[in-house]
């Protein structure tokens, strides 16, 4: 700073600046500035940074930027370099450019006018063919927080939201939030963009756009409807951070859209009285119409369950809270194991998870009781972890396990960490009040602890004993006497106050001791803490009323001391008590009731968990952790009483939901929840049809093309393909393609372009030393085969490769699709010959349906052969694997070990293709294929035969 001023002044001076400038330019030219910069004195530092930035050498500029970033990181001000830095925004060196971006984002807000100089560079970069450059330009443009450019940002976001690259679209979703925080007035326009991006099928975009949704318009639940099923299906493939955000959002969504699943079982719920009353009301309704879970509700629960196995603790917690808030009560406990697993993670993770478990364990002891021992305290735990574990152990205490817990508590009481020992004693107190059977044992144990050497422990005991005695004061005068003796030694004010209160309260049971205690505290009154003084006054007043003969003078003495005490409260209390207990002419009617006022029986204190009301916050949130509403917290609404319209979530076709719901409707309710074994697996597979995001495609197919065998498809559901390692085929060799090599494989995913097409992925590699330009698909044939071309690749760098996908409708024949691959200069004719197995889409159905369908496809439609099977294929898994590796078929559950069944339908016309392998004696097997497409059937039979008979 100072040098800046200095040189400025000198420039005004006239002749000298020339010299100065001359000197400055020499080191720049010689290129040794880097070294000079390192050794220069501190105050000159920024000056030579400026020189370096203005030099012609990239390396010097880079060096300078690195040092500037170092300054920023340390929190030092480097804003005066802004003009010099901003000039480098268009640099070709990527690292330099990135560092300039870092600088811009940090200081643009302070130097808005200068920052505008960089905008045109970004606008240009937004059109760059490299997606990384487009994305980072948008990132910086949206991060620089200069209000003037809001319209430019808006335009850039809108454009980026339709970009071909999902990465750029993801960046656009992030930019939405930035623009919103800069200018909330853009909300309406931004919501339009969010709506558009929510429809995006890329897993990359999903998390970011939901984040934007949560930030900008969390109340626009209606935008989610149409995307709900897609989001559920995509969830597994979304990156971990996106998963957390989506799950949290869907939790809120589900609470507004589905009926409560907590009805039937509410009666059996352990201790929530409220639920009990609710269930009464709802029972009437339930009688008329039994509760059935919305299939979409079930879909969400099912698709989130696998995420409990995530390595990311935030994802696991998100799923756990989703189950807590949405699942039927019987199902919530599946999250327990995963939550307990998180306790082996980092200390901070443990802290948050334990807090949530503490809240859960109050309502649902049963969930965590089997894992009681996982909450045992280790000597190495941090203080806050120990406290939480104690809390949970206390919540979990029941008559059955209390002896185990108390034995564990004994060890804690002897811990070297005295504060922890004291907390344990409180916990024992809580157990004792909650479980009346053990109150006496606990009390005796605590009395023994009174002889402990540590004062904190003893004091805590006194306080807890006081609370316990209050609950059942009848027969405990021994303990009270014992406590009176303790008064001589205990110095902790809270404990002293508790003892005094106890003696005052039960003074009639210890008539001899009480006045003596009063005598002792009267002596030390002036040196006591305030709470002790207050209790002394109380004790004196009570004794005066019950035993005025012995204590009149003492009371007078104490009241006099209290009258001149420094503390307001004590003076007030003194004045009040004197009026109350010492009758004089001024005192009104009240003193007649003094005895009834002071010696009224007091209700026992309720010892309850600090986590009792925490469940008003959504679990896993910051607000829950803090037990206070954090800004931006979104309330979880109550379940709706009347089911909202289910059809809002239907996408294009309305058949989807019933096809899932129908088979369930016939089952009885309790069976419906139990979801065990095969049944569940089937459902699971069915619902995940097309996990790549085209959840609607299956039903679309069902309703649109109406050829034979259509009726059966209601019974079967499209299935996500069984995984097989993709086999890559060569399309164009490097030599014949003049450097362009192309290979293709069938990813076995539903084709995004048309449901009649098979999706094919091409990998193009440039083996030339020059970039290839304008690669596209040229003429295609033969007629009858439709091809969806990939978008023209503008530029493919040497040694680079790119994967594009295209769709081909082979029309259920193995005829090759021929087309031309064109580059700017050349054309190559290529052809893709599909394996018959790739023309299929797997479906699932029950065994009965399979047999029924097979019965209809006999005669001409059936082809069979007996084959010799390789010995290692005799067991079930190899057969399945081999069939699936050749043909994209789904496995049909079979009740016999020796029969394997597979089902699929052709991609183009949707005809059913069934295949079964019956293993027979002496490693032979009968292979049957049933389909209307006889040609296809026989080819398939041949291929399966080769595959199965190979070793």
């Amino acid at each position: 700073m100072s040098t800046n001023n200095l040189s400025y002044n000198e420039q005004g001076g006239g002749a000298e600046p020339a010299v100065e400038l001359g000197q400055e330019s020499t080191p720049t030219a010689s290129g040794s500035t880097a070294a000079a910069g390192l050794f220069s004195t501190d105050f000159k530092k920024n000056e030579d940074l400026k020189e370096m930035l203005e030099s012609n050498k990239e390396s010097l500029k880079l060096e300078a930027m690195k040092r500037i970033v170092g300054l920023i990181a340390k929190g030092k001000n480097a804003s005066e370099l802004f003009p010099a830095v901003v000039k480098n925004v268009a640099s070709k060196n990527i690292e330099l450019k990135k560092l300039v971006y870092v600088y811009l984002v940090r200081y643009a807000e302070e130097q808005q006018d200068l920052a505008l100089l960089s905008i045109s560079t970004f606008q240009r970069a937004l059109k760059d063919p490299n997606q990384l450059i487009r994305a980072s330009a948008l990132r910086v443009l949206s991060s620089i927080r200069v209000p003037i450019i809001v319209p430019i940002m808006m335009l850039a976001i809108k454009e980026a939201a339709t970009d071909l690259s999902p990465y750029v679209r993801k960046t656009a979703a992030h930019a939405i939030q930035k623009l919103y925080s800069l200018d909330p007035e853009q909300k309406e326009h931004l919501i339009e963009v969010i709506d558009k991006l929510l429809k995006d099928k890329s897993t990359l975009v999903a998390g970011s756009v939901v984040m934007a949704f949560e930030e900008v318009c969390p109340d626009r639940i209606d935008l989610i409807h149409k995307n709900y099923r897609k989001l559920c299906n995509l969830l597994v493939d979304v990156e971990e951070w996106g998963q957390v955000v989506i799950i949290t959002m869907l939790t809120r969504y589900a609470r507004t859209q589905f009926l409560s699943p907590w009805r039937e079982d509410a009666l059996f719920d352990e201790n929530s009285e409220k639920a009990f009353y609710d269930s009464d009301v709802e029972k009437e309704k339930a009688d008329s119409k039994p509760y059935m879970m919305d299939p979409d509700h079930r879909l969400l629960l099912r698709n989130t369950k696998p995420l409990l196995q995530s390595r990311n603790t935030a994802v696991v917690m998100a799923v756990a809270q989703l189950y807590w808030h949405l699942a039927p009560k019987q199902e919530v406990s599946i999250v327990t194991k995963s939550l307990v697993r998180l306790l082996r993670s980092h200390r901070e993770v443990q802290y948050i998870v334990l807090q949530n478990i503490a809240t859960m364990s109050i309502q649902r002891k049963g969930m965590f009781e089997p894992f009681l021992k996982s909450f045992y305290v280790r000597s190495t735990d941090a203080t806050h972890i120990k406290t939480l574990k104690l809390e949970i152990l206390t919540n979990l205490a029941t008559e059955a396990n209390i002896s185990t817990i108390l034995r564990e508590f004994q060890t804690y009481v002897k811990s070297q960490d005295k504060q922890f020992a004291a907390t344990t004693i409180q916990a024992i107190g809580r157990c004792a009040t909650n479980i009346s059977e053990i109150t006496d044992t606990c009390l005796n144990g605590l009395v023994l602890l009174l002889s402990n050497r540590d004062e904190t422990v003893v004091a805590e005991c006194v306080v807890v004993i006081k609370k316990l005695l209050q609950t059942q004061p009848s027969q405990h005068s021994d303990i009270i006497k014992h406590m009176a003796k303790l008064l001589d030694n205990i110095t902790v004010p809270m404990a002293r106050a508790s003892i005094l209160w106890l003696i005052g309260e039960y003074c009639e049971r210890v008539p001899k001791i009480a006045p003596d205690v009063l005598r002792k505290v009267a002596k030390s009154f002036t040196s006591e803490e305030d709470i002790v003084k207050l209790q002394t006054l109380n004790l004196a007043a009570k004794l005066y009323l019950t035993n005025s003969k012995q204590t009149k003078l003492l009371t007078q003495y104490i009241l006099n001391l209290g009258k001149y005490d420094q503390n307001y409260d004590i003076r007030d209390r003194t004045r009040f008590l004197r009026q109350l207990i010492v009758p004089n002419e001024k005192s009104g009617a009240l003193s007649k009731y003094a005895k009834r006022i002071l010696l009224a029986s007091k209700p026992a204190p309720v010892l309850e968990s600090a986590f009792k009301d925490r469940d008003r916050f959504q679990l896993g949130t910051l607000s829950h952790t803090l037990n206070a509403k954090a800004s931006g917290y979104l309330e979880l609404s109550d379940w709706p009483t009347v089911a909202p319209d289910q059809s809002v979530r239907n996408v294009e076709v309305k058949e989807w939901a019933p096809s899932l719901g129908k088979p369930k409707a016939t089952k009885s309710d309790d069976k419906f929840y139990s979801d065990s074994g095969e049944e569940e697996e089937q459902e699971e597979e069915a619902s995940e049809s097309g996990s790549s995001g085209s959840s609607s495609s299956s039903s679309e197919e069902e309703s649109s093309s109406g050829s034979g065998g259509r009726t059966s498809c209601r019974l079967c559901c499209l299935l996500s393909p069984v995984f097989v390692p993709p086999k890559s085929h060569e399309l164009l060799h490097r030599m014949s393609g003049k450097g362009l090599a192309v290979s293709y494989h069938f990813p076995r995913q539903p084709c995004a372009y048309s449901h009649r097409m098979v999706s094919v992925q091409l990998t193009l590699t440039n083996g030339r030393d020059q970039p290839l330009e304008d690669i596209c698909v040229g003429e295609a044939g033969p007629p009858g085969i439709a091809i969806h071309r990939f978008a023209t690749i503008e530029r493919l760098q040497p040694e680079a490769s790119i994967t594009v996908s295209m769709g081909i409708d082979f029309n259920d024949s193995t005829q090759a699709a021929n087309f031309q691959l064109c580059t700017k200069t050349d054309q190559f004719s290529v052809s893709i010959q599909p394996a018959v197995g790739e023309l299929l889409m797997p479906v699932t159905m029950t065994e009965q349906d399979f047999l029924k369908e097979q019965g209809q496809l006999t005669g001409m439609n059936e082809s069979s052969v007996t084959i010799t099977i390789a010995p290692d294929s005799m067991s079930s898994q190899p057969v399945g694997r081999k069939v699936v590796s050749v043909a994209n078929m789904g496995v049909v559950p079979s009740s016999q070990n020796s029969i394997h069944r597979f089902a699929a339908k052709t991609v183009s016309s949707g005809s059913l293709v069934l295949s079964s392998v019956v293993l027979q004696e002496a490693s032979t097997a009968k292979l049957v294929v049933n389909t209307e497409k006889t040609v296809l059937g026989s080819v398939l039979l041949r291929e399966l035969k080769t595959a199965l008979s190979q070793g």
Partner: protein, 431 residues
């Protein structure tokens, strides 16, 4: 979400700050210092602190506080998990995560943080993707860079960012294709004084080091997968196949990664591999005490127990210890009150024993608490749960990889510890 990040040393020095939105003054860290002042150790600082305008969520590891400043509601675990991920990335890039290494590489740290978060929302946290964008520093590379002027920053979007398998980069090539798997198990047990098991469980992880070319697709199967009670996976593992067939099917990340963590539940099956007899007593008079600890092997299935270390946290009044042992070395630190007995290998013939006297502070009351024993040990070539890898198959590539599996059992170390507690005082009233 995450507004700003401060890195703070234990001494309270803020040595790095990064803001993703508007700048927040570093004075916000004063709330952390206040909490640190109240806590007895840095570990005891609460991870979430509310301040009037912000919330601080912090993680303490490697003697550094990673403090994230938050302004609005966010799942706290989200932030905590991310902060740990940041620390792990630093560890990965610089070999250690320390104040010195972060300061030395401040530019790379900044470039990393820039890529990891956009507007406070995680963008790229996979090590493989980050390494493609920002190359880790090596001496060779820094020399080359200064000569050629090339940079550490990649110019194209890493392919992983776009694909469904962000953890693997394309075009991996090795001359030796190898895949190694370490099955590491830890016993976590609490025993009482008599040696009875209060609580025991086995936790295991499978750490992998996979250096395979191309896009290999691996399948790892176990002889006895039923043993595994609770599992969590690296995102690469196909959960469906695990559910259906109990095999791990995955396209591995390149290099080192944790494939899975698991938990073995069968509580009764946990055979504690050693036994410990301990007798620590303090005399009422003469301010002294006696200590006698014996350790011996038990049920080790023929394998040797190595690296046995016993740590005892003594009560504060123990001034010094005069101990003799027939194996290993023992040291007592009078300042921290920690007794460490490094035994080494356990063999069947000789039973290690440590005994001697303890001198107590005179006049101080006899300690009524009993020292806790922590035992660290290691058994090579044995997974104590009996878990065995059956085979590893590779699809998708043609070469034949070299495969290896190693088993190790540990107790203690950085993870959860095995404690032996003693109950001297009979406090039988609860019975």
């Amino acid at each position: 979400m995450i507004h700003s990040l401060f890195l703070v040393s234990t001494a309270g020095h803020i040595f790095l700050e990064k803001h993703w939105k508007s700048v927040i003054s570093r004075s916000v860290c004063d709330y952390l210092f206040e909490a640190q002042g109240k806590a007895s150790a840095p570990e005891n600082v609460p991870p979430v602190i509310a301040t009037p305008h912000h919330y601080l969520i912090s993680v303490y590891r490697d003697r550094i506080f990673f403090v994230a400043v938050i302004q609005t509601e966010v799942p706290p675990l989200f932030v905590i998990e991310f902060l740990h991920r940041v620390a792990e990335t630093f560890q990965d890039y610089f070999g250690e995560c320390s104040e010195a290494s972060i300061k030395d590489n401040v530019v790379i740290v900044y470039e990393l943080l820039e890529e990891m978060l956009d507007n406070g929302f995680p963008l790229a946290t996979e090590a493989n993707i980050l390494k493609e964008m920002i190359k880790p520093p090596t001496i060779l590379r820094s020399v080359v860079n200064t000569i050629t002027g090339s940079s550490n920053v990649g110019g194209t979007l890493p392919t992983g960012q776009l694909s469904n398998i962000p953890w693997r980069r394309t075009g991996v090539k090795y001359t030796n294709n190898e895949a190694y798997f370490d099955v590491v198990e830890e016993i976590d047990a609490i025993l009482d004084k008599s040696g009875t098991v209060v609580f025991a469980e086995i936790q295991g992880v499978i750490d992998a080091c996979v250096k395979l070319s191309g896009m290999p697709d691996l399948t790892l199967s176990f002889v006895n997968p039923r043993l595994l009670d609770d599992v969590s996976f690296h995102p690469c593992v196909r959960f469906k196949r695990w559910e259906a067939e109990r095999v791990l099917s995955f396209i591995p990340p390149d290099g080192n990664f944790r494939l899975m963590s698991y938990h073995v539940n069968a509580q009764n099956l946990v055979a504690i591999p050693v036994y410990v007899k301990q007798n620590v007593s303090f005399f009422e008079t003469g301010s002294s005490g006696r200590l006698d600890i014996t350790v011996g092997p038990k049920q080790t299935m023929g394998k040797t127990i190595e690296d046995v270390v016993i740590t005892v946290h003594m009560p504060k009044v123990v001034l010094n210890a005069n101990l003799t042992t027939n194996q290993g070395t023992s040291t007592y630190d009078p300042v921290t009150k920690v007794l460490v007995w490094d035994i080494g290998k356990l063999n069947q013939q000789k039973v290690p024993n440590l005994k001697g006297s303890l001198s107590l502070q005179s006049g101080a009351p006899r300690p009524d608490e009993n020292p806790t024993l922590n035992i660290d040990l290691r058994i090579q070539q044995l997974a104590i749960s009996g878990l065995k890898v059956n085979r590893l198959n590779m699809f998708g590539e043609k070469y034949k990889p070299f495969k290896g599996v190693k088993y190790v059992t540990k107790a203690g170390n950085a993870g959860p510890q095995r404690e032996q507690r003693s109950t001297f005082f009979c406090w039988n009233l609860f019975e």
